[in-house]
Symmetry: D2
């Protein structure tokens, strides 16, 4: 259920409705909008008595949300969610296109800085790098761990880039949340409900990659797990699904972009690097993602892809990344967007 | 095998090599290029003796083509194939973007003319309309047949639009070849090898839609069936594949566009109408197709989609089609293309 | 719609109802059952007036068939369809298990006879062998054609085995129908609607293989195309679908067997040879097919698989086939079936 | 790498080799076989010097294992793994067929006991019941948790049934390992590498369900994660994969059974309940699984499926389960197996 407050409802009225929902045994999720605040209600409501709610002060209407996902639904929140980063102009969602770039894995401090320097120069706002790697083989390189997180924190300090990196489990979740700006939940963990719930208790944005065979509804239900715990800063990321097709590592399903925008207010990024697994397909598919309406892209860039410890064949050279930025910048206005290069401290935030 | 002729080889030398190949029991396929002519050799060659060929006059070298597809391969013909239409500037392949539009089925002369008028006004060069419909049910509307072909011929005369329509079998293949400009082989017939061979004996361009679970190699082998019979004007068209995903009718696999361009010289179009089955996804995916490097798009447009006899839910309104044209025109230069609106008689052809 | 006749309805009453249906502009399909005759009605009926029909003499009731497939539906015909072969005890459907075996392609008369001799000795009732091969490559061996059909006719004469072989197109359809006992429509032609309609005008049983990405409904609609033309002897055959799984050539979808039996009266066979593409998986999956309730299996057997012109790696050795027969014979009674070995002339037929 | 010891190697020699491997910086995995002991070596070996190992006392040979999975491979351990349960004749793997049955979720003590009583009477050796449920929706019933584990421990005491239940994360892993006999890792967690490693440190058998789009190699790599930590009692379970097919909830991929047996020594079960999602398909597919060579089945049984809190439509009625047992018992000997009903205390264990 969703309680829609009147446009002129006061903070006290909103709080009173929330308190009332708690008394009813459910959980309130106040979701401020441009015009009005809506309050999502979650919990096993069954045939909950809605009568009282409608009579509370400041309430405009109480509506039933029929979809399985509630808080992730556009029925509950009409405006696009924009995830902002304090002290900078970096944002994910809305009119701005976000570009997240960096190596698959942090291998050394030198490697990470060299790549960060290149992508910052080309205007990316976010740096990605694996500290904890989900590897198919227990015998493969599993990431530098905390050392990698510290290297990325230095990169943020030096280049202003916001840091996106993956958490694999409860232990690494806390560490990643401590050191990074966006906590990534990987495709293999998209239905690790325990991890999603814990991510919902963080107060850091969470980027969820689509599982290899997840439907749109399952993808949004993963977001719902995070949101149901009170963390509404969720970013979705398409990264290709498993099919019979063998000309690419995965089949990048760009049609989920307009389909998601239709039913959800959450931002949706596209990862053409994992989505294709082929360097020569990354640029075409990054352009296609933006043209399809994606809120940004996440790409792998490496200064020496041929000697990368993981995912070399799909990593862009820095010069290719620079070309990509130029191309995306040109496509952006066709879809009513703009690509702001670089991370600057907003004037207002400087005070 | 492939015989590469010297740049200065004469027509007589080329003919002599072809004759020699016939004598060897194989089939020669002379493929003129910008710099040189190459001669593809098909037939079950086994351990064919190549010795003689290299010693013939005008021959630069004889090379083995290791891929299963030969004539469709970029190894055999490096330059992009451009399919041109005599007496007009319409073209598929190369720098120009092709736009094919029209209703799923020709229902009445009035309907067809109304739609053709709209899409011509927006600048399409090609009109599509089903005369013979491959329907899952034997009890569903199967198309107007010859009557539809005649209506489309009138549309060509009136609007200058080139006609693209599907042939279902041998009988309709001859009729379609007689009345239309491009013969379409549908997804369900992509491995109807008998029909492909017969299409290979036509001297009309053939547009092959990707089968619902065809790999890239199988798709090119369908083209190879047509080309092996001597018809080199083949156009490929991605239209979505079957997967578990349920947010769209099919999963549009745009990553096959750069993958195909990498290995083949044939033009590749994208059909976002069948590829998504949802009107609200057609524009985003049409833009994405062009951004991914496709040579054009094929879309369904209907003046009254809500009462269409087939595929109404995926048909664009004429106004949406006009918007699409404007958007594609803006994306084209980012990928080194241009969208020439309308069909004009080239000056040179006027003489 | 379906007209259910009273148990005691006379042939004249049935004929009168059929005539009436023709007058209404539709097509009647009288389907005799053990207890009563039902008459399926096909054609674009829309809001057909059923009133008159119910008042005709001998009519018990008129019911609407809501599924897309009508004649293939168990709603229309409750008893299992059993396809019988005049002058023998061979049958497909019902309590008996059918075993169809033979090489992928007929390569030589000697090869075909050697294999036929082995499989007849092990008790198969049907011989399969490709005369016309649908090959992915136009340059691959395409089958011996008419010569192969004649060899198989000799095999029928000598061993009593009934012949199953594939027709690729209209021309080969007529030839196959002339020489063979069962006309096979291959997976790639499952939605070649033109060919299906023509097969519907034959009076020979038609075996339809499931398309590589066909849903259950599409599979039955292919059968419906054949049946709508008046040929009710349709046999279905599961042969694996396309998925991401790479441990077998296709993913054999045995769960379609009970699902089909639930909604359709048509017999359903399973082809574990194409379904797995691996000799070492054929026996396990043949056993599994029978255990799942299939009406029989179709397997490839070759006397020298290592030198077969096609599909060697999935062909059983004759000794393996003999083992398979023994194993299937043991599983049969668990599912209420029996495996009658060999083809004998029924006593009644000898008169 | 794998060190194969001589048949007559002493425990001291084996220990000395293990110590040597630890000194080299790797991890030894002694794997006793019927004839000889092999010692798997894991760790990032790169170009490890094998020279010394071959010269150690008792070593027969040192061989390189080329597959990505090592300890799960039949190259490393030729004999089938049989997981035994102290104090009973229950076993998974080998000649015996294992049957695991019970409700999707433990709902109440009464429900669980009623079902356990039925399945014990029919001869199952293992009871399954969800205590912690991985639910797509955060708002759905999540299981009774510890209370359910305690109910199942009572069921073990009363009926002798061994308990199989799922662990969702680290916390529940420890609880499940404490109370149950087999720790299940669900399909959604098949690549939760952190959980797999922790399960590898348990000394309880681990049952891993195949992920919805996992390849055979990825499935075995999940087992390898558990085994690489020293827990070699791993049981695999096929439960259907995601495909386009819509006649069942998932596509049960039985062909993975012979393919797994070919390359791995681990037992492989089949879950036809999740694999089809349809009660009427469970029996046919359970029979098919055993006929295909599976080491057993895992099925859902409920006394009141129509009011089950989860998965009612796919749960068998107790009478259907009894029928299934009878049918599997008959198929078992065809594949060289037997179905021992019930759990008895072996004579030897009585001392």
């Amino acid at each position: 259920m969703l309680v829609v407050m009147k446009a002129q409802a006061t903070p006290e009225e909103i709080q009173a409705v929330c308190d009332h929902i708690v008394e009813m045994g459910f959980r309130p999720h106040p979701l401020p909008g441009a015009q009005r605040t809506a309050i999502g209600i979650t919990g096993n409501q069954g045939e909950a008595n809605r009568g009282n709610l409608e009579s509370l002060s400041g309430v405009a209407e109480v509506i039933r949300v029929s979809k399985a996902y509630k808080l992730a639904s556009r029925d509950v929140k009409e405006e696009d969610t924009v995830v902002r980063f304090a002290g900078s102009n970096a944002a994910i969602g809305g009119r701005n296109l976000a570009v997240i770039a960096g190596p698959c894995s942090i291998e050394t401090r030198d490697q990470a800085f060299a790549i960060a320097s290149e992508i910052a120069a080309s205007g990316a706002q976010f740096f990605r790098g694996g500290a904890y790697k989900p590897r198919t083989s227990p015998y493969a390189f599993q990431g530098l761990g905390l050392e990698a997180l510290k290297i990325m924190a230095e990169i943020r300090d030096k280049f202003g880039l916001r840091i996106v990196t993956e958490a694999l489990d409860n232990e690494t979740l806390d560490l990643v949340a401590e050191w990074a700006d966006v906590v990534q939940i990987g495709a293999r963990n998209m239905q690790n409900f325990s991890l999603l719930k814990k991510a919902g208790r963080l107060r850091k944005p969470v980027l969820i990659k689509r599982g290899m065979s997840a439907t749109l509804e399952e993808f949004l239900m993963a977001a719902e797990y995070v949101m149901s715990e009170g963390n509404y800063e969720v970013i979705l990321c398409e990264r290709g699904v498993r099919t019979f097709a063998d000309h690419a590592r995965n089949t990048l399903d760009l049609s989920i972009v307009p389909a998601l925008h239709h039913v959800s207010h959450l931002p949706i990024l596209v990862d053409p690097s994992h989505g294709t697994g082929r360097r020569d397909s990354v640029l075409p598919m990054a352009r296609a993602a933006i043209a399809a309406g994606a809120d940004g892209v996440m790409v792998e860039v490496h200064n020496h892809p041929e000697s990368a410890l993981s995912d070399g064949p799909q990593s862009l050279y820095p010069a290719q990344f620079a070309t990509m930025m130029t191309e995306l910048e040109k496509i952006a206005p066709v879809v009513g967007r703009h690509l702001t290069r670089g991370v600057s401290v907003p004037a207002a935030a400087g005070e």
